[in-house]
């Protein structure tokens, strides 16, 4: 019964996890106050013979207090969330000179296209690998996400990456892994009867390892 977030392995995962814990603490406090309050009232004000309830229609002061406090906390949370969101998703935040790959989803596989030796996509030396995503650690990577048929969702839990792949659109996703290892892409959007098994392997290499893998794959494809 392990209910924890998987260890984070990306730069953007750091603020995401921080926000998650902040919200967990804030909602945790509200949760305890509300639930404990309800239980306390149930005990303290339980009906008894001869008791009479206090007659009141409310209190404007209390209404103002419990409107203002949640509003302020939520506004602050909104502003902070907005900043983090912009740093991940806004076009301005996309890294320049990053390794750019193309991932095309289709029922029920992920096809990853790498640029060849020229480092440019959509040229003759590109090569495509099915269900294998290889990326270097500690370097920004941009994935151009497309879909051939229905909507899929590109989800790598350890990298805190999720983006729907929509047919007819090319959606850029970027991330920077901070460690190496073997993981999975999981499809997070219901895409048909094979949705549950639409996974692909993700290998995060050290930079040099990645380059030698890339070179060897490129050669194989070129032959």
């Amino acid at each position: 019964m392990d209910w924890s977030l998987p260890p984070n392995l990306s730069t953007q995962g750091v603020p995401i996890d921080t926000l998650f814990w902040i919200i967990l603490v804030l909602t945790g406090i509200a949760f305890v106050l509300v639930e404990a309050g309800i239980v306390w009232f149930m005990i303290k004000y339980r009906g008894r013979e001869g008791r009479r309830a206090h007659y009141t229609h409310g209190s404007t002061r209390m209404e103002i207090i419990w409107t203002a406090i949640p509003a302020l906390v939520l506004a602050a949370l909104g502003v902070y969330s907005g900043t983090v969101w912009a740093s991940i998703k806004s076009e301005r935040s996309y890294p320049e000179d990053a390794l750019t790959l193309k991932v095309v989803a289709k029922q029920f596989e992920w096809n990853v296209t790498y640029p060849g030796a020229d480092g440019e996509l959509e040229t003759g030396d590109d090569f495509t690998v099915r269900n294998q995503l290889h990326v270097p650690a500690n370097e920004p990577v941009v994935v151009r996400l497309e879909s051939e048929d229905v909507i899929h969702s590109f989800f790598i839990p350890e990298l805190r990456v999720k983006q729907d792949a929509v047919p007819g659109m090319t959606i850029p996703v970027w991330f920077e892994a901070t460690g190496t290892g073997e993981f999975e892409i999981a499809c997070a959007e219901l895409c048909g009867l094979g949705h549950y098994r639409m996974s692909a392997n993700v290998t995060i290499h050290e930079g040099a390892d990645f380059r030698s893998w890339h070179a060897s794959q490129g050669q194989e494809a070129g032959q």
Binding site: R52, T67, A86, A188
Partner: protein, 592 residues
């Protein structure tokens, strides 16, 4: 308008005079109370079906490698050599959500209780348009039959999720579902029409048919909630119906509204769906909030704390409900800048929900709490809805949503709102208004056992799902065991499934109590809860036409423990206290 209303009520009174045939009285009835009871039986049936689908899903998730016991009775297209097929699983996911939303919870909140309570609580003899009301029920029947039948056509029932995301929903070649999807869309358009007709009726009735003295701010909160819900329904349902017809055209006559090959746009579907879908969420919770307010006031023997704040909170939720739809689409490929504005509107909508929660607690504060079954479910609603509200904040925060979107965290959230919220309140409402509907009380002991079992099993099912979401378990997957990151959670999935079986079983205890009490329940007096609103001031059950004389209203809806009435702790809305001067509190009755 006025003449139509007068004619309709006139007819209702006439009906009382002559003897009606069985068919006119119980089947094709125009009496709002009979129609409400018809809706109640129908929706309870669909609640049972929707729950059964969930049980099959839960079995598959917990034990994907074991054959379904008794699965042999299902056709080979659903369960082959004992195993649930992935395509059938997708139909289960889709139809569980669709049936629960459109055929169980929504018509139970609105079809049953708007119908039953609006005329009785505002002091009217019937709805403004009784025949339209009958039509609204009789549209639901073919829609429901069509939905159930879709399981048995070639290709099975719809399998693209209750959200019907295009292009999966629009391309039979990719979903494997041909006729089933189309039947569901036709059914959706019909049930939408039923809902629109209902809304028109409720709005007209509340505006035009309030009893003398029933000013807007003397309306019970249930009526306020149902009135605003009807406005939401009237504005949101046509969008879904239009989108549904467009999707049907994409499949049948070759249009491409949502199919990208010929220039359509899949995201357009999501915008249209959620433009309906988010107000829909509030259609599913506002009436529940109304019932809860009513029951908590009566159970605490206190006026509702902050009545006007409660009304404004409902209105604020309804308004904001129309500008938050994009929060379902943060990861959809929609322009990320839009995400920011939807975050802000979404966080804003948490404020009126918080106000309501605090006001319910304020109502309990210094009360004289009566723990009857309806009160227990109403308190349960507040406690569970609070969890659902708080978990929503995680999703509203766009960066966190990147991770938890489309995981079981969302499944936990929606069920804390729809089950812990809406259904808890509905159970409370059924126990509370049962004596008025059927003239008998439900059994209290069984009711309390039902409450405890429901509370315990509900939390055992849905609380751990937050944990599954944190681990990263995706929604709607037929078999979680194939994934590396989901290896450590199968025991949680099995625990959830056992608890789900318990939850479903406790529903049958409720069903037993419900049907047994119809014949064997203790006879109910007119006002078994010593409550103040008008429906309790007429016999249980009320006769056709509801009142001997239309009541006159002198004060607000929840005058409990009024200091000027020392001999009892409640003052009915139509009771004239000696201390109030009628000149200042009575609205001039309109001539009818």
């Amino acid at each position: 308008m006025a003449t139509i209303v007068a004619e309709a009520t006139g007819q209702a009174i006439l009906h009382e005079e002559h003897r009606q045939s069985f068919l006119r009285k119980y089947i094709f009835s125009t009496d709002h109370k009979v129609i409400a009871i018809q809706f109640l039986f129908t929706t309870l049936f669909f609640l049972m079906i929707g729950g059964l689908l969930a049980m099959l899903m839960r079995y598959q998730i917990a034990w994907p490698d074991q054959p379904l016991p008794g699965g042999g009775i299902l056709p080979e297209t659903m369960v082959a050599s004992g195993y649930i097929l992935p395509e059938f699983y997708n139909s289960l996911v889709t139809m569980h959500g669709s049936i629960m939303v459109f055929f169980a919870i929504m018509p139970m909140l609105v079809g049953v209780y708007a119908n039953y309570l609006i005329p009785l609580q505002i002091g009217a003899r019937d709805m403004a348009f009784p025949r339209l009301n009958m039509l609204s029920f009789w549209l639901m029947v073919p829609a429901g039959l069509l939905t159930l039948a879709s399981f048995f056509v070639i290709g099975g029932a719809a399998a693209a999720g209750w959200t019907l995301y295009a292009p999966l929903s629009g391309r039979p070649d990719l979903s494997g579902v041909h006729l089933g999807q189309q039947m569901w869309l036709v059914s959706l358009v019909i049930i939408g029409l039923s809902s629109i007709l209902g809304s028109v009726n409720y709005i007209t009735t509340v505006i035009n048919m309030r009893a003398p003295g029933m000013t807007w701010f003397r309306l019970p909160l249930t009526v306020w909630a149902l009135f605003i819900t009807a406005i939401l329904g009237l504005l949101a349902m046509p969008v879904l119906s239009a989108a549904g017809i467009m999707l049907l055209f994409d499949q049948t006559i070759g249009t491409s509204f949502f199919l990208p090959e010929a220039g359509g746009q899949p995201l357009l579907w999501q915008h249209l769906f959620w433009f309906f879908g988010h107000p829909e969420v509030y259609i599913l919770i506002l009436p529940a909030m109304g019932f809860t307010s009513e029951i908590i006031a009566a159970g605490s023997r206190k006026p509702i704390f902050g009545y006007k704040a409660m009304v404004w909170a409902i209105a604020a939720i309804a308004f904001l409900g129309f500008i938050v739809w994009g929060h379902h689409m943060f990861q959809s490929g929609m322009n990320p800048t839009l995400g920011l504005s939807f975050t802000i509107s979404t966080l804003l909508i948490a404020v009126p929900s918080a106000i309501k929660t605090f006001n319910w607690m304020g109502t309990m504060w210094r009360g004289n709490l009566q723990f009857h079954t309806p009160m227990l479910f109403a308190i349960g609603f507040v406690a569970m809805f609070a969890i659902g509200g708080l978990s929503g904040i995680f999703m509203a925060s766009t960066p966190v949503d990147i991770y938890i979107h489309d995981t079981y965290f969302i499944v936990a959230h929606i069920h804390y709102v729809l089950f812990g919220g809406s259904l808890f309140a509905l159970f409370g409402a059924i126990y509370y208004w049962y004596p008025k509907m059927f003239g008998r009380m439900m059994n209290e002991t069984l009711g309390k056992i039902h409450f405890v079992l429901t509370l315990v099993f509900f939390n055992l099912v849905f609380f751990p799902m937050h944990g599954l979401g944190m681990v990263g378990m995706m929604r709607r997957i037929y078999d979680p065991t194939g994934y590396q990151h989901l290896q450590g959670i199968q025991d949680t999935n099995q625990l959830i499934t056992w608890a789900a079986f318990g939850l479903y079983a406790s529903g049958f205890l409720f069903a037993f109590n419900f049907f047994w009490s119809l014949w064997r329940g203790r006879k109910a007096e007119a006002n078994p809860w010593d409550a103040t609103t008008l429906e309790w001031q007429t016999p249980s059950p009320p006769k056709h036409g509801n009142w001997k004389e239309i009541p006159v209203v002198y004060h607000g809806p929840h005058e409990f423990s009024h200091p000027d009435v020392p001999d009892k702790d409640w003052l009915a809305q139509n009771e004239r206290p000696d201390i109030t001067s009628p000149a200042e509190s009575v609205m001039q009755p309109e001539p009818r």
